[in-house]
């Protein structure tokens, strides 16, 4: 054994030993019993073995981990490259536009379904439905005024519309709606029965505002048949002074035109 070790030592100092042979030497000198004449070789092998057991302290590892960690986090939190950002922006734009288009389309379709072909027919039906006598309680005054005003935009009116307007003029509970109907009828004065209806209405109306408007309308179309109801107004004590003056004026104008 000792002789083997001596041979190995010789090889060792020549730099010819293998790692395995060097391990044998290290083990040998780690033992308690080393022959006296070989002891002087022990020191360096002892150093090699204990030097190999050296490791950095535990705190070193945690310090190192702290140093390595932060630079890693920053880039990962970022939201992709510029390309990804631009793509995301474009995607948002596209979603917005298609959403808008779809909404628009749906609205158009809805309108088409709701409205029949021609605009006139639309308004005819709309006006009729709003002004229908049975619905007075359901519709508001402003809605009825709007319907009345729409009537003058119609290119052609039929008897249904003029009758509705006359009815509104005579029976609507709201003064303003009646006034609007009166003004609307002025536009359709050439339609049959309209001037007649206005003359008859003069006897029914009690509101001075409407009475005055009616008088003005009748005078402007020079309706001779209105002279009789004008004179009735003049005789009526309950009618306001202004209205009576207006009626008097109307009578004289109509009769003078006659001459």
């Amino acid at each position: 054994m000792d002789q083997d070790i001596e041979k190995l030592l010789e090889k060792y100092y020549e730099g010819e030993t293998t790692i395995e042979e060097e391990k044998v030497l290290k083990n040998f000198f780690q033992n308690e019993v080393v022959p006296e004449h070989l002891k002087t070789h022990g020191a360096q092998f002892g150093y090699f073995v204990s030097a190999r057991n050296e490791l950095p302290s535990l705190t070193f590892n945690s310090q190192l981990a702290n140093l390595l960690e932060p630079p890693k986090q920053a880039p990962i939190r970022r939201f992709g490259s510029w390309l990804v950002r631009i793509a995301a922006g474009l995607a948002l734009l596209i979603v917005g536009f298609t959403g808008g288009l779809l909404l628009q389309q749906r609205k158009d379709q809805g309108d088409i379904a709701f409205l029949p072909k021609s605009k006139d027919e639309v308004s005819h039906q709309a006006i009729k439905s709003v002004l229908a006598f049975e619905k007075v309680s359901e519709t508001s005054a402003s809605e009825r005024i709007q319907a009345v005003n729409q009537s003058y935009k119609l290119s052609e009116v039929d008897q249904d519309i003029t009758r509705l307007l006359v009815n509104t003029l005579n029976f609507d509970p709201n003064v303003n709606v009646r006034l609007a109907a009166c003004q609307a009828l002025q536009h359709f004065i050439n339609e049959p029965e309209v001037s007649e209806a206005l003359v008859q209405s003069l006897a029914i109306q009690t509101d001075p505002n409407i009475q005055i408007t009616l008088i003005e309308v009748l005078v402007s179309i020079k309706e001779k048949r209105a002279v009789e109801p004008f004179q009735q107004l003049l005789r009526d004590e309950k009618v306001m002074e202004v209205v009576r003056a207006k009626a008097k004026e109307g009578v004289s104008e109509l009769t003078s035109a006659d001459v």
């Binding site: 730099g15 004449h37 002087t40 020191a43 057991n53 950095p56 070193f60 310090q63 890693k72």
Partner: protein
Amino acid sequence: MDLQAFTQRILPVQGRLFRLAQMFLGNREEAEDAIQDVLMRLWTNRQQLETYQSIDALAVQMTKNLCLDRLKSHHKQKVQYNVDMTEVQAAEMTPHRQLENADSEALIYKLISELPEQHKLVLHLRDVEEYSFEEIEQVTGLTNANIRTILSRARQKLRESYLKANDYGSGY
């Protein structure tokens, strides 16, 4: 290379780097500081690491160069061998033997640090780290024959100076 891959490949090497740095610099704090520097440099250049054949060899080279630079720039005298190194001694040794060993190991360290840099490095890699000759070639760039010569000279020189220091005279 992400942090996990880096840790898996580099950290097992760090003990080796630490021992090398400690051998050159002579104390624990400076050695830790040096290898921390080396590991940080490796980490910041991690993109290029893949192109190297052996990251181990690269890391060892970097550590060696860094330690030599530090020694030069500090104009350091040879540092006394750190006695805490002997704390890891095997427990079965008697206190007397331990003390004796600590003394002789400290002496060996001192003698090693008196060797030329190249000899120091080769001796350390072979006898402490148990590197194969191929691995030493990778780190030092020397030829196999050169390494054997250097190793042989370093071992003999160490032996001689140890005997001289202990007044044993020459011979085995």
